[in-house]
Amino acid sequence: MDRRTTVKWMLAASAAWPAWRAGLAAQTPPGAAPSQLPAAPGYGTDPDLVTPHKRGEFWPLTLSAAQRRLAAVLSDLIIPADEHSPSASAVGVADFIDEWVSAPYPTQQGDRPIVLQGFAWLDAEGARRLGKGFAALDAATQTAICDSICDATRAAPERRDAARFFALYRDLTAAAFYSSPAGRKDLGYIGNVPLTSFDGAPPELLKRLKLT
């Protein structure tokens, strides 16, 4: 249980819920999936915890095919395949993102316009540079665009919103990837298995770290 996160959620949710709703109508990019979702009940306060759930089971996924394509391309720029593990899209990160921005909860609905506007900004930036949507750009141009927004402290003033989007999207990509079996394996997580005894820190490691 992470009470730090809970505290942040409590404070954010109580303050942010009406504010984002008021701002949405004006910000919806034309032709995109609707920013404002129909009221959905969510999974309720007593969901089945034992049976594994599928994305879209509790609320409909709402991203368009083009948005999902963009979601996958961008998440692979953030978490590409390497010698340890597959890329983000290979473990279904686009599904996770779609579920996230389609969820009926305050945090997620607050993230939704940031993600959708970020997608629109990426496509507009691709069009400005090479007359193509972001997903259709060559890797070098995609990287150049990401380089301009990946660090909010160094991004140009007119790119601050885009940088804020990129930081959020990196968090969501990481959330999706490291929630997956491949992500756990990538980090070398070897717990969540029953043991007959718990031995604590290995003595040789403690010795190496000069902790004994």
């Binding site: 249980m1 009470r3 730090r4 996160t5 809970t6 505290v7 959620w9 409590m10 404070l11 949710a13 109580s14 969510g42 999974y43 306060t45 969901p47 915890l49 034992v50 759930h53 089971e57 720029l77 953030i78 978490i79 590409p80 390497d82 593990s85 996770f96 579920e99 969820a103 909860y105 997620q108 990287t143 990401c146 660090d151 909010a152 402290t153 160094r154 990196r170 968090d171 990481a174 959330a175 490291y178 929630s179 079996p181 756990r184 980090l187 717990g191 969540n192 298995v193 029953p194 043991l195 718990f198 031995d199 604590g200 820190a201 290995p202 490691l205 403690l206 770290l209 902790l211 004994t212």
Partner: protein, 600 residues
């Protein structure tokens, strides 16, 4: 017979217990094992941990990776059913939404209540903690002392199973031989934190948590707990044999299907039910204690949530154990010509002196813990060690600027990755992405340490609950509570001290704190966030200034008892649950004695 409905329950019981959590579970256990016939009324639904606990489920099987939502505030797999700081259809009112003055009220509508998900931290109050006013002139003394409660701490530890050690530190009591189970072995970050804190003069000792690091002694413990009661011993021995020790995996907050940690549903209720003396009615929302013409409680009135009908149940004794604020609410809603301001409220103190725990947290990142080899550090689910308050003498000498102490809970290690892994790393990575980001997440995974201060709040006149004067009612038509809240400078300074201390420890580890907030007003978590709320019907030695006596018996109504946190006249830094169980057992022993003497 054990699970009953409005239709199948019996006409009369010795005792009605309202609530099924730590207080209700313990009260009913003690009464039933010693022969009293008990009806337990629980507002929430029946809950079966063996079938409903998500033990090894992983984040990819949950919506949103299991992240927190308002419907599951501690994450999807948290054990809580129909609960949280907001319960649909059961509102409450705050006087302000501001950080400084808000109180958020956590409830769980399920059999076993909050014990299904709690942190299992089980610390004894020390001698100072029962007599705080005598020590520093602030707040209230309890009418009982450590020596009165100590035998019951022993009993609770022997029954539920608590790991820990005896260190002989100031106001941090030892347990008698055989009471505690061995503590779990330290993980790498435990060693580093302990070394660094000790260099600063801060003690680091094994935590006390209600987790079975080995099987309970089913031969000795039942005899110690129920001397001369062969039936109770037999039932308890059989039950202890069926509880498995910890398998060193899965978060305790999900509950435990093998019964390796304490939940009321897995520890108190099964043996109590096995006696045949306990009937449980779930979905029974008690809203009122009914007063007889003789001035005694003649039972309770409740809404059957499955039918919406109003029911009455009667017994010789009524025990409220519905949680501090819910018990206060029931009393305040029990109005009669003789008690126009609520039952047992001739003192005007019902609802008064609500306290939570002072909470403040810091995250740090430690280079020495980066890029360690794969390690299974699930252990006993964190908080294996802690720092008891260490500045009693400096505080008493007035050197700190705040009157009460705190303990430090901390955790670290390579815990199961999930939706927060890799989040917000910009302060370390400068915002990189791609192959470098992936390498950085690997590098930093397991290198974070988390410190949580948990401190004592002094009761004050401006932190209380009352029936909402605006007339708001819940979906059952029951008037709701309105909360008032205010911290004092003691709590704000304490929170700032926590922040500075955690920064010092992290720096002593060679690490970097993410953020240190030295403004206490900003560092302190809002009221109710730590979910240690107590008070609202405090015990005392003076009927004019308290609601119950030292036996949890209301001054005004001799057969009405309150055995939950409502009776706490102070809220030590020690997490309240173990003390709730100890005073509930003590009160139940008293009720049994009075029943035998036909005084109730």
């Amino acid at each position: 017979m054990p699970f009953v409905t409005a239709k199948t329950r019996q006409r009369a019981y010795d005792v009605i217990v309202v609530g099924s959590g730590a207080a209700g579970g313990q009260t009913a256990y003690t009464l039933c094992m010693e022969g009293a016939r008990v009806l337990m009324l629980e507002a929430g639904r029946r809950y079966t941990p063996a079938a409903e606990t998500p033990m090894f489920q992983t984040p990819d099987m949950a919506p949103l990776g299991g992240a927190n939502t308002p419907q599951k505030p501690f994450g999807f797999y948290d054990a809580t059913v129909d609960g949280g700081w907001e319960v649909p259809g059961e509102p409450y009112v705050r006087t302000t939404e501001d950080h400084a003055g808000r109180f958020d009220w956590w409830r769980a509508r399920m059999l076993g209540g909050r014990t299904n998900h709690w942190g299992r931290i089980s610390l004894r109050n020390g001698p100072y903690d029962f007599k705080p006013k005598s020590r520093d002139g602030l707040g209230f003394d309890w009418p009982i002392g450590y020596e009165d409660v100590a035998p019951y701490y022993d009993k609770v530890e022997l029954l539920i199973g608590v790991y820990g050690s005896n260190e002989g530190l100031e106001n941090t009591p030892n347990s008698p031989p055989g009471c505690l189970l061995p503590p779990p072995k330290p993980i790498v970050s435990d060693y580093l934190i302990a070394r660094s804190a000790r260099r600063l003069g801060i003690p680091v000792i094994p935590g006390h948590r209600a987790v079975l690091t080995q099987a309970l002694d089913h031969r000795s413990n039942p005899q110690r707990l129920h001397p001369g009661n062969a039936k109770a011993q037999e039932i308890l021995a059989a039950d202890m044999r069926s509880r498995a020790p910890c398998l060193w995996a899965t978060p305790c907050g999900r509950g435990c299907s093998i019964r390796a940690n304490y939940q009321s549903t897995t520890v108190h209720l099964p043996p109590a039910l096995a006696t045949g003396n306990l009937d449980i009615a779930t979905d029974a929302m008690v809203y009122e204690v009914a007063l007889g013409a003789d001035g005694r409680a003649d039972g309770v009135n409740f809404v059957d949530r499955t039918t919406g009908t109003h029911e009455h149940a009667s017994a010789r004794v009524v025990v409220l154990a519905a949680s501090a604020c819910e018990s206060a609410r029931i009393l305040l809603n029990s109005k009669s010509p003789h008690f126009p301001d609520g039952l047992a409220n001739s003192s005007g103190k019902v609802g008064r002196y609500i306290m939570d725990t002072v909470g403040s947290d810091v995250t740090g990142q430690v280079p020495l813990l980066e890029s360690l080899p794969p390690l299974n550090e699930d252990g006993a689910d964190g908080h294996q060690f802690y720092m008891p308050w260490w500045l009693y003498q400096e505080q008493l000498a007035g050197k700190l600027g705040f009157a009460r102490g705190y303990h430090v809970e901390f955790s670290g290690g390579k815990r199961m990755p999930g939706p927060d892994t890799g989040k917000g790393l910009e302060w370390l990575t400068g915002g990189n992405y791609g192959a470098k980001f992936k390498q950085d997440v690997r590098r930093y995974y397991g290198s974070f340490v988390y410190f949580s201060g948990r401190g004592e709040m002094i009761p004050n006149e401006r932190s209380y609950c009352e029936i909402d004067p605006g007339g708001v009612k819940d979906k059952w038509g029951i008037p709701v509570l309105r909360f008032h809240w205010q911290w004092s400078e003691h709590e704000r300074r304490q929170a700032a001290h926590m922040q500075r201390t955690f920064g010092d420890i992290i720096e002593a580890m060679g690490g970097k704190p993410k953020k240190i907030e030295t403004d206490g007003a900003k560092a302190i978590a809002p009221g109710g966030l730590i979910i240690h709320e107590v008070g609202g019907a405090i015990m005392g030695a003076n009927p004019k200034a308290s609601v119950t006596n030292g036996w949890c018996q209301t001054w005004d109504v001799p057969n009405l008892f309150i055995t939950d946190g409502a009776v706490f006249p102070s809220n030590a830094d020690k997490n309240p649950t173990l003390t709730i169980m100890a005073i509930a057992w003590r009160a139940a022993d008293h009720i049994l004695e009075r029943l035998r003497r036909k005084e109730l």
